[in-house]
Amino acid sequence: MWSFSDRRLGRHLHFYVAIVLSLALLASGHRQKNLLAQICHSTVLFPFLYLNETIAEWSNLSEENRELSSLVARLLLENSSLKEAELENYRLRKLLNFVRTTRFRGVPAKIVGGSPHLNLKAVLVSVGRRDGIRRNMPVISSDGVVGKVFEVLENTAVVVLLTDPNCPLAVIDQKTRVLGIVRWRGHQGMVLDNVPYQESVSPGDTIISSGMGGVFPVGLNVGIITKVRSEKGEIFKKIELEPAVNFNCLEEVYILSPTKE
């Protein structure tokens, strides 16, 4: 039979046990504490700790993802700039190789603006009188003839393009050596004039500068024949050309200045 004190002890037994256990844990050494903590970590606490690590990894991934996206954007921009630089390098090397083989000195120039004259198909370039540029100097690109210097200012110059109807050019068929005059004629584009009907020219023939006229040196690319027509009663052939230079995409040009030799 339980006595009153036994019943009271029984009621508070759990409390006493909890207190004794807690005090025992408090009083235990570091080794015992660490051992018990390890047991708790690997059993009861393991799922929570694993979840915590996973959440931390996800948030790190998110941060890393943001940083990588930013890096990709920067690298894409850099890559684009480098590709542009590579293309420019190629064009200028090509131009430089041509200039070295002639008796001309090439002055590089960038296209900086459109024509200041409304009735002139021309562009503004970044070199002028102080760079030794003079009127009527030939202007070329890595692909061929562009035009000639029309007007010279101190730091800039106006270059009239071959697309201007008032900029004719004496040329020669590279294969057949037939002479002619290249002009730009409105909707027809680049045409080759003054080729007699009996002369032999064919589509695909390369047209180069003839050196006549005293402005352009011989051998500069002008264009390729695309169409040849001989009409009855006409003394000259009607010849259309595809220009060697894309006048809509001009960025750098060379102004040819004759060397002293």
Binding site: H14, A18, I19, L21, S22, N34, N52
Partner: protein, 173 residues
């Protein structure tokens, strides 16, 4: 209801035991996974104490003692140096407060929240006394930078918890 074929008292005990286990899981999940992420002005609410007060005043000393001891033990395992401290404080607090459940009959959420904050401050003092070498350097910085924000945060969280519990109780009755 759990243990549907048991004696009503045994049924009640099984329900209380299940509730204690669930609340221990909740406390551990909060303490390990969530607490650091909801820090505001240097403070976080102490869910362990809030749930201990809840169990003490709603379910009595048995459930509160179990929760206080086991919950405290597992929380201490996260910082082995303090192993046993929270278990001791939880056991004593849960048992004493649970013993007063019949006499206090406190339903007001404001008062329950106030009790939670008082217990929180008392525990902090006890821990400083138990581990003086781990005390924060400047008491002023500790008071303003840690104790006060945690106390405020705990009070607000406890108030919300007990208010929701009261509304739920009113709705079910």
């Amino acid at each position: 209801m759990l243990g549907g074929g048991l004696h009503p008292i045994a049924n009640q005990r099984v329900s209380a035991a299940a509730l204690v286990l669930i609340l221990i899981v909740v406390t551990l999940a909060y303490q390990i996974n969530l607490r650091e992420r909801i820090e505001a002005f240097g403070g976080t609410p102490d869910l362990n104490i809030i749930l201990l007060v809840f169990l003490s005043l709603s379910y009595g000393r048995g459930a509160a003692l179990s929760f206080g001891f086991l919950g405290g033990l597992f929380l201490d395992a996260l910082a082995p140096h303090f192993l046993g401290a929270t278990a001791l404080l939880g056991s004593v607090t849960g048992y004493l407060l649970g013993s007063l459940k019949a006499k206090l009959l406190i339903e007001n959420p404001w008062v329950r929240a106030g009790i939670s904050v008082a217990i929180f401050c008392l525990w902090e003092v006890c821990l400083i006394l138990l581990y003086p070498s781990s005390s924060p350097g400047s008491f002023g910085n500790y008071l303003g930078g840690q104790l006060f924000p945690c106390a405020v945060y705990t009070y607000l969280a406890a108030l919300l918890f007990f208010w929701i519990f009261q509304k739920r109780g009113e709705a079910s009755s």
